[in-house]
Amino acid sequence: MVRLTAGWRETARQASLREHMDRFGPLPLRGHRRGQQQRLAETVANAGLTGRGGAGFPTGTKMRAVAAQRGGAVVLANGMESEPASSKDEALLAFAPHLVLDGAVLAAEAVGASTVHLCLSRLQPGLARQLRAAVSERAGTDQVPVKVHEVPHHYVASEETALVCWLNGGEAKPVMTPPRPAERGVRRLPTLVGNVETLAHVALIARYGPAWFRQAGLPDAPGTMLVTVSGAVSCPGVREVEVGTTVGEVLTLSGAADSSGSVLIGGYFGSWHDRGTVAQVPLTASHLRPFGGSPGAGVLIALPGTACGLAETAGVLAFLAGQGAGQCGPCTFGLPAIAEDFAQLAAGRAGEGVFARLERRLGTVRGRGACRHPDGAVRLAASALATFAADAHAHARRRPCAAARQRTPLTLPAVASADEGWR
């Protein structure tokens, strides 16, 4: 199904404003001014759109909450995409920037925002240049100014309170809530934070309506979504699928050879699953919940049966351990301890006592940070111990598999250098 991705394969480049308007029609500004009967927040709520940044919160509800507050507001478009295994936001911004900008500007009008802030990673200067050029193309047509920002690149910097902090002049580190940004955010104003893909869907819902949006997907999970597939597949990359497509179908579309092995669902803070177990399960939050999984931002990584899931997990945990903000003790100390336990386990140097130690540490660290970063690492580690249980016990008996010494499928990103800073 092709909605957001219309024209991507044909042109293989950014759509100009002219091409964008020819393809989707003009920006539907009338009928969505704040105070008018038919408000965009209600339209989006009726469409049943949920956030595409990973949390899956109902977008219409978020918009209502911000619109309901007196005084000004702010829209923050989150294009940071700090999940290394995800590239859908980068692709969307590169190919269809005007869909994202339309959605952000429409949302701003609907919630009474005076500014749109588009946050991109500082490690993507080319993307920032492209988006500034797209904003210039629209000069004079948008009712609110759109500012493009390049934010320090850290895993936790994409968290909504971290971005609000940074825009307010501080460091891009998460802070404890309450208050959530929807109540008090940028310049202490109610701030609507939306993933760029979510805003792109808003742009189409505003044009074609909730019934159109619901023609795809499931009744309780409507629409389409972008997915990023990597690992042991012949055609990795970003695709648009109907919500409700199964895990197996998404992998098959990406050229997965067979149905053996395991799959990491949700990204680096997601969970491992045996491929046979989840092949028929739709890639939605409600369908994956009984399996202890969640689609996250639509990220799937396929691991062949010949690879060592424990070694791959040890690598990701080491990465996550180094990506905290350094603010909260349980995360700053707990994640490296857990990562070290996993490294020993993967290398066949841990004894059987490692399981009790890991269980204790995972339980201790969960839920005790200012953000969900430690929780994600804990979820990943716990799922690895469950999905690779047989391997884990073999490794603990000092019999690691040969694959543990040669890690390949998960390519860890280059970590930002020590002087990347948070400001």
Binding site: P178, C328, G329, P330, R368
Partner: protein, 69 residues
């Protein structure tokens, strides 16, 4: 029971004074950071909880009425 002890983990730097003073409600993890043992503060410990809040050198601990945030 009408109060909760709420910790701001980003402000906490593991001084441990709270856990030392109020072991009934606060223990420490292996890295010296506080773990809240109970959801609510029993009335009998309320004045101790207030003291613990005041002891924290970085004001990471707060006492809130149940139902507030």
């Amino acid at each position: 029971m009408s109060h909760r002890l709420v910790l701001n983990p980003a402000a906490c730097s593991g001084h441990g004074l709270c856990a030392g003073f109020l072991p009934e409600l606060i223990t420490m993890d292996e890295w010296g950071y506080p773990i809240m043992l109970a959801d609510q503060v029993p009335d009998s410990l309320l004045s101790h909880a207030r003291r613990a809040v005041g002891l924290c050198p970085v004001l990471a601990l707060r006492l809130v009425k149940a139902g507030q945030r």
